[in-house]
């Protein structure tokens, strides 16, 4: 696996994640459509399923999900320096934008143009997320386990207000128990 990626330049990793970071509105979840275009379609660094796995993995590691996902992909491509390039890339544009805001804070307050743009940006991000949810659910629902778990999780978090962290930890525990039970059965 590593051999195909030996030539992936650190600069290219940095540039690709800078692009993703520059468009990252609406938190870590909104990262998936951006990653799909840049990392899967354009650069072909991994398949959609692998990207979804990195994204799932990123929830388990301490830290910001968007940063974790970028680092995991960077790590796959170039090890330590890949994680560094991906991280610097994904935070670069947000860093300078917030810096500009912090310097000019008093002059920007209540700028109507910004609020209007934001009012249009929000539904665009929401629609993009709905599109990714649709694509992911189309993959998950192919197995019975897949569609039951997806809908159950959505119900628990959305309607019952269960926290995402608890759902993820329960899921990991369920996977380990599933493995242990299957292994015990095989032995007898």
């Amino acid at each position: 696996m590593k051999a195909d990626h030996e030539k992936t330049g650190l600069v290219q990793i940095f540039v690709s994640f800078t692009k993703v970071g520059a468009m990252l509105f609406g938190g870590g979840y909104a990262m998936l459509p951006l990653l799909e275009r840049e990392v899967v379609d354009r650069r072909k660094w991994c398949r959609f399923e692998e990207m979804a796995d990195y994204y799932a993995m990123a929830q388990l590691v301490p830290g910001v999900i968007a940063v974790n996902t970028s680092m995991l992909i960077g790590h796959r491509l170039r090890g330590f320096w890949g994680t560094a390039a991906a991280t610097l890339g994904v935070v670069a544009v947000p860093f300078f934008v917030i810096l500009a805001y912090a310097v000019a804070i008093d002059r920007l307050a209540g700028l109507k143009l910004l609020e209007d743009a934001m009012a249009g940006l929000r539904p665009a991000v929401a629609g993009m997320m709905l599109g990714v949810a649709f694509t992911m659910f189309n993959r998950s629902r192919k197995t019975r386990l897949g569609w039951v778990v997806s809908l159950l999780v959505a119900f628990l978090v959305l309607v019952c207000g269960v926290s995402a962290v608890n759902v993820i930890l329960t899921g990991v525990a369920a996977g380990v128990i599933w493995f242990a039970v299957a292994a015990a059965k095989k032995r007898t």
């Binding site: 909104a30 830290g63 790590h75 912090a102 009012a119 929000r122 997320m129 999780v153 959305l158």
Partner: protein, 196 residues
């Protein structure tokens, strides 16, 4: 303690505690900022709003902003020292991920195909799908009806905003249309409908 070290420590801690998504972190970050007198509650709400209007994860945005403000307040008039503060905050919040992923990365690569890992991911994949569905539904409700979800029953959403959601959904789900143009298009419609 040196203010830079304190910044690095606080945001490193926030980075470690962030498991499973930034939104769950809001109360913790708020407590850290307010109890230290780095931000008051109003400033914290403002920075949350700004974090949503600008690219980047909320905790990274907060780290950049607070890093700048805290150092700027201590050394007024010297912009470059304050910029260094922003840099320290930003890197500190990312550092736990950098350490964990480089420590566990080789282990994860080696054991990817281990049956136990495979079972965990058989569950995690649809589970994350459920989380993404949840996030999408919440974002749509928030974009069309604002923060009070009771309004869903009481009023129709703005037809322009509803149109943006539908077009953006169709373009993302069924075409390879670039997200940049979808975002720019949405922002442009927002600005235009503000002018009219």
């Amino acid at each position: 303690m040196n203010l830079f070290l304190k910044l690095a420590y606080v945001f490193f801690k926030i980075g470690i505690l962030t498991v499973g998504g930034g939104l769950a972190m809001i109360p913790i970050i708020q407590h850290e900022m307010v109890s230290r007198g780095w931000l008051d509650n109003q400033q914290f709400l403002d920075i949350l709003g700004i974090a949503q209007m600008t690219p980047g994860p909320m905790s990274v945005n907060t780290a950049t902003f607070v890093g700048y403000r805290v150092i700027d307040a201590a050394h007024p008039g010297s912009v470059w020292i304050a910029v260094a503060g922003a840099l320290v905050g930003t890197l500190a919040v990312c550092a736990p991920s950098l350490i964990c992923i480089n420590l566990f990365g080789p282990f994860w690569d080696k054991n990817r195909n281990h049956p136990c890992m495979a079972r965990v991911f058989d569950i995690l994949r649809p589970l994350v799908t459920g989380l993404v569905i949840t996030a999408a539904v919440l974002l749509v409700l928030n974009a069309l009806w604002g923060d009070s979800f009771r309004e869903v029953l009481e009023r129709m959403p703005d037809y322009r905003m509803f149109g943006i959601v539908v077009v953006s959904f169709v373009l993302t789900a069924f075409t390879k249309f670039s997200p940049v143009y979808i975002l720019l298009g949405g922002a442009a419609i927002g600005v235009l409908s503000g002018l009219l």
